[in-house]
Amino acid sequence: MIPSSPPAGASSPPNDRPSPDTAVYAYTITRWSPPDPAAPVRVVTHRDIAMLVADVDPAEFTEPAMIGLVRRHHTVVREAFEHGTVLPLRFATMFADDDAVRRLLRECHDEVVATLAAIAGHREWGVRIPRPQTAPAAGISGTDYLALRRRERDGDQLHRRLARHTSRSTVRQPGPGFRLDAVYLVPDQDEDEFLAEVDSIGGEVETTGPWPPYSFSELRTAAR
């Protein structure tokens, strides 16, 4: 006679309840040299590169949890960045299993190594320069108007000044509120000069950083 139900505490979960769907969430690619990350983050390696991942239940990606999930993503990337060069992945990138992660690392290996080498020793900085409050068109003198227009145009010039100290940069289409809205990839040894240049602009300048190189992380071989 076969027992109708397994004894409590039997090895695997009983019968017909499906195991919860899990996925392998990928945070960032890095060199294979990270110290053991804090659980639940773990490392999947292929040759000399690695992916920081965690097992997740996709069902947890709900609206109320969103900010916490974004926060977790950024925290993992930032901590990895403290130990070495990182290539962060877009939020909510998931794989079926570790084999799929390794397959990606294998297919992109050469470009990953080259990109990691190119951005090693850099940090990302954001610079925004708000547009001065525009005076009402009526009652503004011709001279003032020309000065206003000149200040609005000089975003390009300010960008060129800053970009001299950087390896790469991206200028966003300035919105209505900004003369300059740009992101810079700054070599460590040029950071002091870059920040001094930012300070020399004077006036109101919003500087954020240092960031992991989020804005400069691309892999062509992963995008096709």
Binding site: F61, R71, L89, T93, T207
Partner: protein, 84 residues
């Protein structure tokens, strides 16, 4: 210099979200799995942020005291080795 770096952390929630949601490596193809409708998810985040920005304008910038939202506070390599 380290002190100065530590003060350059005026990052807003929008700065963090812009990077985490809009930047970074995109994996295309069948290697990654679309178990989550990411586009819908990020749309919802953006809606949340829009309301959060409104909240900030109203003086309810509740996240500014959160050390998480100060990326510059990170003490990375405070003493950079001298360049050879």
């Amino acid at each position: 210099m380290t002190d100065e770096l530590a003060t350059r952390s005026g990052a807003s929630l929008a700065d963090v979200l812009e990077r985490v949601l809009d930047k970074g490596i995109v994996i295309v193809g069948d290697i990654s799995v679309n178990v989550v409708d990411v586009e819908l998810l990020t749309l919802r985040v953006r809606l949340f942020v829009a309301s959060a920005q409104t909240a900030q304008e109203m003086g309810m910038d509740w996240w500014t005291d959160d050390p998480f939202f100060s990326p510059g506070r990170r003490e990375l390599a405070p003493e950079r080795p001298p360049q050879p």
